[in-house]
Symmetry: C2
Subunit: 156 residues, 2 copies
């Protein structure tokens, strides 16, 4: 069964909503993905047909095990990319977030895994060099910025 990038995004959004507030609502998915509610409903129907979510109209929305598995895979790539961009490259969190949101759907497992290993390796082998690199490239960075890595944009 084919699953598009966009469908992955819907699944990820639902996964995060479920994790954050327990309940998944059309309105909230729409806000996250910056689309209108009718577009969400279309997507829900397709995902439901594919067995990735459990959905009856006007009823609560839930990810199936299969849907959850896909969402988790995407989401773990998201977190790893955020970590790499912020802790290794020193990219501002809002930029990192946008890049991560795109890359997570395209990146090969090998590349993702290697980035994870690289971050670990380099931080163990030469933490000072990394620290220095970050320092040289970050003008102003608030102390709580790095907390953004775990956070998942509770929408404003």
């Amino acid at each position: 069964m084919e699953i598009s990038k966009r469908e992955e995004e819907y699944l990820e959004a639902m996964y995060i909503l479920h994790k954050n507030k327990g309940i998944i609502r059309v309105k909230d998915i729409a806000r996250r993905l910056k689309v209108k509610p009718p577009s969400v409903v279309d997507a829900l129907k397709k995902l439901s047909e594919k067995g990735l979510i459990q959905y009856e109209k006007y009823d609560r929305i839930l990810l199936t095990d299969e849907g959850k598995e896909i969402a988790e895979k995407v989401y773990s790539k998201h977190k790893l990319l955020m970590n790499f961009f912020i802790e290794i490259l020193g990219i501002p969190p809002d930029i990192a977030e946008e890049d991560a949101c795109q890359f997570e759907h395209h990146i090969h497992d090998i590349t993702a895994q290697r980035m994870r290993e690289f971050a670990k390796y380099i931080q163990e082998q030469c933490p000072y060099v990394i620290k220095q690199f970050i320092k040289e490239h970050i003008e102003k960075r608030k102390s709580e910025d790095s907390s953004k890595i775990e956070e998942v944009g509770n929408e404003h």
Copy 2:
């Protein structure tokens, strides 16, 4: 004027064809992007309307200055990503190529620039650590592999 990711890919393909063989043909664009010729013609018309290429039917195809500028921007990101994936992370060239082809259209300029700086910095500050990381993660890598960074897939 809005320019889509896909349009960027068309421009980049044409730029590379022009660079490699001087002449840009529908058939070759189609092969590069893995689409059929009619799809290419559709794209050419749109790009022409946007002033990014010079195109009259059955006539030669050329990038305009504006089109070339966009293509070069994308292509330079492609090369930088290839370098990063291969030389820093030790990703196999064929995988690196696929990831680069996706990322090049999404990555922020800041992130791209930072990756470039990071690669330079780390290779100067602790080349041995990088070498060691690569060594530990590469099983079999043919000696000519790294030449792939400059090459641009003269299609098989």
